[in-house]
């Protein structure tokens, strides 16, 4: 029975909440992340495609190895370490750069897509909080993509290592000839680099996530145009470039903080092979730029959670 206007009994609206159902806090988060991977297959397909293309190119390049080995005469019979490391480093860089682009475009669509196709009404009909949903979306560029980059890059480098070893064996080169860089060390440095980049780029990803929950269309323009316009305004009005410098550092400034790019003898370190000794996690973790960036990332994340709460279909 329903009661119309002004006829609700005057007793207070008593609490009649049902027995709470015990549910693990992490279960909705786990399924929300799985949902993101189902919905955005480009997250792993793009990385696998980049790895595949690189492997094909590398495999073809191995046809030239026997001739170049024959042409080597002492004292240059040992390829320099950097030359050996370069293909492995490029493999990691290509997959990491692909992941950065995927992360940016994923974040820009993360909250917009579900509003655009009205599926937000389905997601919100289930007992998954906005906090859980947005955290799952934030975890894609910050956790899932770095993990995928590492796994795919390691597998790619192992295949490259095996391929190059097999080619050298077939060409009867001396087994004493170094034919690969210290791949394991490079992989540790890659892992460190991925953690550094995820932390350093967190405010960028979270800004994109925030913007994805706000305009009705053209999220890319909304995300990119205001910072660029402000930078241009600053230059025109004050002839200074603080904002554009800050944006540039936010994109690429992590390497100068996270690595010692000059060794103890004052010799510059080639970025294709950075020894473990040149990592500078202490300096990176104590840099104000990192923590200021993370503070902004947290603010953007909170904003994105609040936006999702208020937003409906477009």
């Amino acid at each position: 029975m329903n009661t119309p206007l002004n006829s609700v009994p005057q007793s207070s609206i008593s609490s009649q909440a049902l027995e709470p159902v015990v549910v693990s806090e992490t279960r909705p988060l786990y399924w929300s992340i799985r949902r993101e991977l189902w919905e955005n297959r480009s997250i792993y397909i793009a990385l696998l495609a980049a790895a595949g293309v690189y492997l094909i190119g590398y495999t073809i390049s191995l046809f030239w190895v026997p001739r170049s080995m024959r042409e080597m005469v002492p004292p240059h019979s040992t390829p320099p370490l950097i030359e050996l490391a370069m293909p492995y480093a490029h493999a990691g860089m290509l997959i990491a750069a692909t992941a950065f682009l995927v992360g940016i475009f994923y974040s820009l669509d993360a909250l917009h897509g579900e509003r655009r196709d009205r599926s937000i009404l389905f997601w919100k009909s289930l007992p998954v909080s906005d906090l859980t949903t947005v955290l799952a979306k934030a975890s894609v560029p910050l956790v899932i993509l770095p993990v995928l980059v590492f796994v795919i890059a390691v597998l790619l480098q192992i295949v490259m290592w095996l391929e190059s070893g097999a080619v050298l064996l077939l060409t009867s080169a001396s087994t004493a000839t170094p034919w690969a860089p210290p791949v394991f060390e490079m992989q540790l440095v890659l892992l460190y680099s991925l953690v550094v980049m995820a932390l350093w780029h967190a405010p960028l990803y979270m800004w994109m996530l925030l913007v994805s929950g706000w305009p009705r269309r053209a999220t890319f323009l909304w995300a990119v145009f205001p910072p660029l316009a402000l930078a241009a305004l600053e230059y025109i009005a004050f002839h200074t470039t603080y904002l554009s410098t800050m944006l540039h550092r936010r994109l690429l400034g992590f390497d100068a903080l996270a690595f010692d790019l000059v060794d103890k003898n004052g010799v510059p370190v080639d970025p294709h092979f950075i020894p473990l000794a040149q990592l500078a996690p202490g300096r990176f973790l104590s840099s104000p730029g990192l923590w200021l960036g993370l503070l902004f990332a947290a603010m953007f994340l909170v904003g994105a959670i609040r936006l999702r709460r208020y937003q409906g279909p477009i």
Partner: protein
Amino acid sequence: MTVIEARGLRKVFGATIALDSVNLRVDEGRILGLIGPNGAGKSTALNAILGLTEYQGELRVLGRDPWLERDQLMRDICFISDVAVLPRWMRVSQALDYVAGVHPRFDRAKAEGFLMKTDIKRTSRVRELSKGMVAQLHLALVMAIDARLLVLDEPTLGLDLLYRKQFYDSLLNDYFDRTRTILVTTHQVEDVQYVLTDLMFINRGRIVLACSMEEFESRYAEVTVRPEQVAAARALKPIRERQVLGRSILLFDHVERQQLAALGDVRTPSIADLFVAMLGDGPGDKGSAAQGATR
């Protein structure tokens, strides 16, 4: 047990009052139809009940504040808002996996059982299904959730007659068990006339009619008046008069059926007839009828 209770529920969008101090109570085991013209405040009311929009006033759904406790409330409430909200990229099997993963009251075997009665394949993506099949899938997911309240906002919009009938038949035969409560809004009122236990009209953010279907049937009568009785019929102050094939059809509120039988053929009006009588001359113009309806 009261499932929904609202006092002074109000929602304003800029200068537009979407809900104007609405009071209502819905008890357990009822199937309530919330009917109103476009822009009347139906969806706003449902969104407030579902915790999708902020509101002023007091609102409790299953004892909880929907705005503050939406995710906990969604363990006990299901809703289908519109027909096309299932993600188009999703496979049927993924929909089952996901709902089973996040919903503690979802019975996957039950959902599989409902789907067995349809032509829906587990491997199909939602975008590959017809509109009717998407509605069947959504209903199968919802009916497999042991919820206390089911809210349906235009759940059959755009579906053909067969799918619409199947939808409500399934709802009544396979889901409704008199301990659950269903709240439905639709413009296809003829589909729900014999499904509802209660009826509510909303217009311009105010509830202008609220009654049980038993009350509706006993209170309202439509008479095809014999020509010689038209003057006498008009004297009984019908709330609406219309002409069909030269015959006068008058709709009465609170007039004895025995008295009406002397004037012509008497029948229970359709919800649509009453809706047009009360709201048909423009939203909110039938103030007197509305006041009478909520007496």
